[in-house]
Amino acid sequence: MASRIDVSIEHRGPPAEASSAQRDPNTCPSCGSHYREDELERALRVCPQCGHHFPLRARQRVAQLVDHGTFVEQEESLRSADPLGFFDVRPYTERIAEAEVSTGLGDAIVIGAAKIERRDCQLAVMDFAFMGGSMGSVVGEKLARACERAAERRLPLVCVTASGGARMQEGILSLMQMPKTVCAVDLLRESRCAFFCVMTHPTTAGVLASFASLGDVIVAEPGALLSFTGPRVVQQTTREKLPDDFGLSESNLRLGHLDAILTRGELRPFLGRLLALFEHGA
């Protein structure tokens, strides 16, 4: 009988966080080059040596993408309610509090209004540092509200994903964020608003299998793991030999699941062009 895990959080390929946990965060896990913070920041946190894309925090992503000073954050105050009173080795509430302190975020997503290359848009950016970017009630709610605000203002939604999947500690309610966000995208479509999704490492499980895959245009950063089930579970379950680039952006492009792979530097002008193309009245 095959394992039933399909939401586990895994990493693989170029950005090998697992082994780099102890390393200096400014040392490239791919080529070993080390950078000063300001060097790396100037390079958009892409290794100038080998092109490795270091993980980006949500606020760093916003700063890189939007026209300076145009981002107005929304719904900052939303917090999870621990619906199950969940306790594994520690209470869920404790895990959340810790994540809040360490990330400075209320949950794994930041939403807001912004301009990209002088075009208005609604933005939603996930942050993997907050409990693996997992989707619980707050991520689902903020994504849904981002869709609704976009629909109200007839603006495109630009979403940057990074997620290990569902927030297991919210049990079945975390699973329900999948149909919830899908319904929100349905509203967005009905309102004839464009939806662009930028998948970054990693975008897996419940997020990949809901709103993230419904973008009109879907692009990804190089070397990102984008798979519903992670490679370790696939390997263990099926005993199949995995292709070297299993689940990575590059194989996803080849297999027809992405419109393009863009380096971090190409992202903003690309989104600017798309926003201009989709700027239309009804």
Binding site: M1, A2, S3, R4, I5, D6, V7, S77, L78, R79, S80, P83, L84, F86, F87, D88, G136, S137, V138, G140, E141, A144, A166, M168, E170, G171, I172, S174, L175, M176, Q177, M178, P179, K180, V182, C183, D186, L187, T204, A205, G206, L208, A209, F211, A212, S213, L214, F228, T229, V233, V234, T237, T238, E240, L242, P243, F246, L255, G256, H257
Partner: protein, 321 residues
């Protein structure tokens, strides 16, 4: 049954309703809507009491075991009992025919409906052929194709959910597992016809929710619906798959808790001992529940129904602000 809430019940139904109301008041729970279909008062009372009581760790684990019971009725067992003239359709028109999902058309209470559902196998040969009810993108595409036919012809869609999860295989990933689970949900969100889903066994994660975005979502008494299997959860959070029972209790995948959390609309009672003990009776109870749920949404205009469906899922989750 949910329908009885809105329509005046008949004589014996009225008695059931009184009993149900009393029990509901006693236990102060908004459930029991799924319990009205059994005719026998004594058993109904036992069932109501069992469902109404706060489930213990043992109760939850019993549901996990019953949901996976090898003799539990599967989608095709119900199809042959609750549908007339069932015609199974095959293929996704692209790559293959995924036997982990069945889809077809049949007559339900005299009217044509589409049925989609996961299908497990009972013996080893059938289990392999059905891939343990774990679908690939091909399976979701087949379901979408049949739902599209139903939508075009005005047939309501019934969906039976019974899967450990989507298949975690290389080719499934290569064919776009995540994307097709998303698109299958979106297709269901867009349907103009009435839709009712029921979790009849394991409602495992994304593989389940792919065909469960319906106007009404029901759950059989001993079914489970969860974001991850108890074993998977235990392995990840407790780092010990042996802690599955503890994980299940923490997770609350049972029908009673799903109803409390607002994830399902009603619980469908099973025969005494569980659905596996009496397939015919289980089918009779399921059919009555599906009929009642369909009746609730059949009267709406297509647009209104779609908006209500969206609003229903939109409301799921618990927040503080």
């Amino acid at each position: 049954m949910a329908r009885r809430r809105r329509q005046p019940p008949g004589a014996s139904a009225a008695e059931q309703l009184r009993l149900r109301d009393r029990l509901a008041r006693l236990t102060d729970l908004p459930l029991l809507r799924g319990a009205g279909v059994s005719g026998e008062m004594a058993r109904l009372r036992r069932q109501l009491e069992r469902i109404a009581a706060e489930p213990t760790e043992d109760d939850v684990w019993r549901a996990v075991e019953l949901a996976r019971h090898q003799a539990r009725p599967y989608t095709l067992d119900y199809a042959e009992r609750i549908l007339d003239d069932f015609v199974e359709l095959h293929g996704d028109r692209s790559l293959g025919d995924d036997h982990a999902i069945v889809a077809g058309l049949g007559r339900f209470r005299g009217a044509t409906v589409a049925l989609v559902g996961h299908q497990k196998g009972r013996d080893i040969h059938e289990r392999t052929r059905r891939n343990f009810g774990m679908a690939m993108p091909e399976g979701y595409r087949k379901a979408m194709r049949v739902m599209e036919i139903a939508d075009r012809h005005g047939f309501p869609v019934l969906s039976l959910v019974d899967t450990p999860g989507a298949y975690p295989g290389v080719s499934a990933e290569q064919h776009g597992q995540g994307g097709w689970i998303a698109r299958s949900q979106l297709a269901m969100a867009r349907l103009c016809v009435p839709t009712v889903a029921c979790v009849i066994g394991e409602g495992g994660s994304g593989g389940a929710v792919a065909i469960a975005l319906a106007d009404r979502v029901l759950m059989q008494e001993n079914a489970i619906y969860s974001v991850i299997s108890p074993e998977g959860c235990a392995a990840i959070l407790w780092r010990d798959a042996g802690e599955a029972k503890k994980a299940a209790a923490a997770f609350k995948p049972d029908a009673r808790h799903c109803l409390e959390l607002g994830v399902i609309d009603a619980i469908v009672p099973e025969p005494a001992g569980g659905a596996h003990a009496n397939h015919d009776e289980a089918a009779r109870l399921l059919a009555a529940a599906l009929e009642a749920a369909l009746a609730e949404v059949a009267g709406l205009e297509a647009d209104e129904r779609r908006r209500a469906r969206r609003a229903k899922f939109r409301a799921m989750g618990e927040l503080t602000a």
